[in-house]
Amino acid sequence: MNDFITRMLGSISTLGYVVTIIAATAIGWTVGGANDALALGAFLGLVLGFIGATVLFGMVNIFLGIHRNTTELLLIERHGAERADALLRAASRAPGLLAASSRQILSIATNGYITLFLGYMFLPLIIMMAAAFNANRNPSISPWKGFTFAWFDKLMGENELWVALGNSAIIGVFVVLISVVLGLAAALLLTRLQTKAKTLIYGIMVSPVLVPGVILGVSTLLLWDTIGVPGGLFLSIIAQSTFISAYAMLLFMARLQRFDLGLEEAALDLGASHQQVFYKITLPFLRPTILTAAVLAFLQSFENYNTTLFTIGRESTVTIFIGSAVKQGQEPTINALAVIFITITVVLAIVYEIKRRTERARAEVQRELAKRADQEITAEGAGSATASA
C-alpha cells in the first residue's frame, strides 16, 4: 500500500507537472487572446503553471522526503555515497523506492518550493531596496530615472529621524533594564513555586505575549490617563515592558529548567551566604541568557509599532517616523532607511553564522583530538599490559 502510494505520487507529480503547465498555458492563452497577445499570454500561463506545480509538488515531496531520505542516508552510511547512488539506481524499480526520473523531478520540485518561498520573502525587500537608488521622486523601480544616492543624503538631513532614533534608543535601554529585572524575577518565582496558583500566575504572566499590542497600548494609556500622566516616552516604556518582560521570562525559564537545584543547596549546606550563592552560582549560570534577553528585548522594543502608537503621545520613535512617512507617501527616503536596516540585519546574520560555524569547527577539532588522545592512552595501556605480561 505504502509503496503503491509512493510510486503513484512519483508518477502523478511527473504527469501533474505536464498537465498543470498545459492547463495553465491554455488559460494564459485565452486570457492573452482577449488582448491580442497570444504568445505572451501563453508564456504567462506557462510561468504561472510552473510556479503552481512547483508549490504543489514541492510540498508533497517534502513529505515524501521521509521515505527517500532515510533510505538514502542508510545506504550512504553503510556503503558510501558512490556505492549508495549505484545501489539506488539499481533498486529504482524495487518496492519502496521511486524511479530515478521521478526522484529527480521531485527533488527539483522541493528545491523549487524552497526557492519560491525564499523568493517570496526576499523579492519585495529587494524591490524596496532597489527603489532607494532610483532618481524617481516616487518610491518605485519604474520608470528608472538613473542611479542616485540623493535619498540617502536627504534621509541623513531629516532632523525628525534623529530625534526619533534618540527616543527609540532611550525607550530601548529602559525596556531592557525593566524586562530583564522583571523577567528574571518571574522566572525564579515560577520555577520554584510548587502551588496550585502556579498555573494561574503563569497564565497571567504570559498573557501579554498572546494579546494584541493594540490592547496593551490602550489599557496602559487609560490607566495612566486617569492618574493624569499623558502619553510619551515613559508610557511607551511601561507598555512595551509589559509584554517584553514575558519574552525575557520565557527565556530565563527555559534556561532554569536545565539548572541543577542541588548546586544551590550544596553551596548553602557548605555555609555560603545567600548572596554568595546568587552571585557565584545562579547568576553565572544565567549570564548568557541575560545577554540574549537584553538583545532580544532591545530589538523587540525598537521594532514595536502597535503598542507604541497608542502610548507615545506627541513624541516619536523610529517606527512612528516610518509609519507617518509611509502614510504620507513621500519621496523614497524610507527606501533608503530600509536599505540601511536590511544591510545591518544581513551583516549581523552573516556574522552570527560565521561565529556559529567556527565554534562548531572548533568543537569538532577538540572532539577529534580527544578521540585521538583516548586512542593513544588505550594503546599505551594495552602496550604496557602486554609488556608487564
Partner: protein, 364 residues
C-alpha cells in the same frame, strides 16, 4: 514563602515578590481592569458640544455688544445735545445686555466644566457597538480574514518547517534558516511598505502585467488599477506574519526523534499517515503557538491596514485608534479594545481545546 526565604535569603525573596507583584498587578491586571470599567460609563458628548457651541456663540455676541457700546460712545461725543438722551438710553441698554450675557456665560462655563467631568454609568458603549452595523461588519471581517491568514500560513509553513527540521541536510538547513531569520528581523512596517510598492497603481505588479499588455501603466485617465483594499491587506498580513508560524513549528518538529519516523516507516505506514499520526501530534504545541501568534498579530494589526487598505477598507484596529486618538472617546475605544481582547481569548481557548494543549505546553 518560607521555602523561598530559606533558599534565597530575605533580600532576594523580597526582590522576586516585589518585581512580580509590580509586573502582574500594576502593569498587567490593573490596566485591564481600568479598561474594563471604562466600558461601563460614558460622557454626554453631545451636551458638552452644545454647551461649547453656545459659549462660543455668546462670546461672539458679547463682541457685538462691545462694538455697539463703543459705537454709541463715539456717536455720543459727536452728536448734537438734543440727540444725546436717546443715544445714552441705547448705550445703557447695551451695557445692561452685556452684563446679563456675561453672567450667562459664566453660568454656561461652570455647567460646561461640570458636564465635561460628569460620568454617566450605563451600557451605552455596548449598545453602540452592537447597533453600529458598519463596525459589526468590520469586526466579522477581522475574524474571517485573520482565520484565513492563519490557515494559509499554516499550510505553506508546515512543509518548510518540516523540511528545515527533518529533511534538509545540515548545511542547507542552516543557510535556509538564515534566509528566514533575515526577513523576520526586518521591521514590520518596512515589509508591508514593500508590498505597497508592489500593489499600488504604478507598482511592480502592474509593471509586470503591462509587459503582457494587460494593463496600461502610464495612462492617467483612467489611472491603472491598484490592488489595495481588503485583498491587499490580507496579502500583506500573510507576508508580514507568515514567519511567526515557521519558527514555532520548526522548534517542535525539531525535537521529534527521527527513530519514531523510521519505525513507523519500517512498519509500513504511508507518508501521510506518518505525518497524521506522528509528526503532527508531536508538533501540536508548535501548531497551537504558531496559530495563536499569527491570528493575534493579524487581528491586532494596525500597520498593515494603514498602509495597504488604500483608504478603501476599514479594519477594527483603525476604529479603535480613531476612538482613542482622534475623537477622544476613550470609553468607546476601551469597549472596542475589549471586544478584540475577548476575540483573542476565545480563539486561544478554542485552539487549546482543539489541540488539547495547556498553557505550559504553549510557552515552550
Amino acid at each position: 514563602m518560607r521555602d523561598f526565604v530559606r533558599r534565597y535569603g530575605i533580600a532576594m525573596t523580597s526582590y522576586i515578590f516585589l518585581a512580580c507583584g509590580v509586573w502582574v498587578i500594576v502593569m498587567i491586571l490593573v490596566p485591564q481592569l481600568v479598561m474594563f470599567t471604562y466600558t461601563f460609563w460614558y460622557q454626554d458628548r453631545n451636551l458638552v458640544g452644545e454647551l461649547y457651541n453656545e459659549i462660543d456663540k455668546s462670546y461672539a455676541s458679547l463682541d457685538d455688544l462691545d462694538a455697539a457700546v463703543e459705537d454709541a460712545t463715539d456717536r455720543l461725543a459727536k452728536a448734537a445735545s438734543g440727540d444725546k438722551p436717546a443715544i445714552e438710553g441705547a448705550r445703557d441698554a447695551a451695557v445692561q445686555r452685556r452684563a446679563d450675557l456675561e453672567a450667562k456665560i459664566k453660568q454656561l462655563e461652570t455647567r460646561y466644566e461640570a458636564e465635561k467631568k460628569r460620568i454617566y454609568w450605563g451600557m451605552r458603549n455596548y449598545k453602540y457597538l452592537a447597533s453600529n452595523e458598519d463596525h459589526r461588519i468590520v469586526f466579522i471581517k477581522t475574524i474571517w480574514a485573520s482565520v484565513l491568514v492563519t490557515v494559509l500560513a499554516l499550510v505553506f509553513c508546515y512543509p518548510i518547517a518540516f523540511y528545515l527540521a527533518k529533511v534538509a541536510p545540515g548545511e542547507k538547513a542552516a543557510l535556509l534558516m538564515l534566509g528566514l531569520i533575515v526577513p523576520y528581523w526586518v521591521n514590520e512596517l518596512l515589509r508591508v511598505f514593500a508590498w505597497q510598492m508592489i500593489l499600488s497603481g504604478r507598482g511592480v505588479l502592474n509593471l509586470v502585467l503591462s509587459l503582457f499588455g494587460l494593463v496600461d501603466i502610464n495612462s492617467f485617465n483612467p489611472p491603472p488599477p491598484n490592488y489595495l483594499g481588503n485583498g491587499g491587506v490580507i496579502v500583506g498580513m500573510i507576508y508580514a506574519y507568515i514567519l511567526f508560524m515557521v519558527f514555532p513549528l520548526y522548534n517542535t518538529i525539531e525535537t521529534l526523534d527521527r527513530n519514531q519516523i523510521d519505525a513507523a516507516r519500517d512498519l509500513g505506514a504511508p507518508w501521510w499517515r506518518i505525518h497524521w499520526r506522528i509528526v503532527i501530534p508531536h508538533a501540536k504545541p508548535g501548531i497551537a503557538v504558531g496559530c495563536i501568534m499569527t491570528f493575534m498579530l493579524a487581528a491586532g494589526s494596525y500597520a498593515v491596514p494603514m498602509i495597504l487598505s488604500g483608504g478603501r477598507s476599514q479594519w477594527f484596529t483603525q476604529i479603535i485608534y480613531t476612538w482613542t486618538n482622534d475623537t477622544q472617546d476613550m470609553n468607546l475605544g476601551a469597549t472596542y479594545a475589549l471586544a478584540l481582547l475577548l476575540l483573542c481569548i476565545v480563539f486561544i481557548m478554542a485552539l487549546m481545546r482543539l489541540f488539547r494543549v495547556s498553557l505550559e505546553d504553549i510557552a515552550k
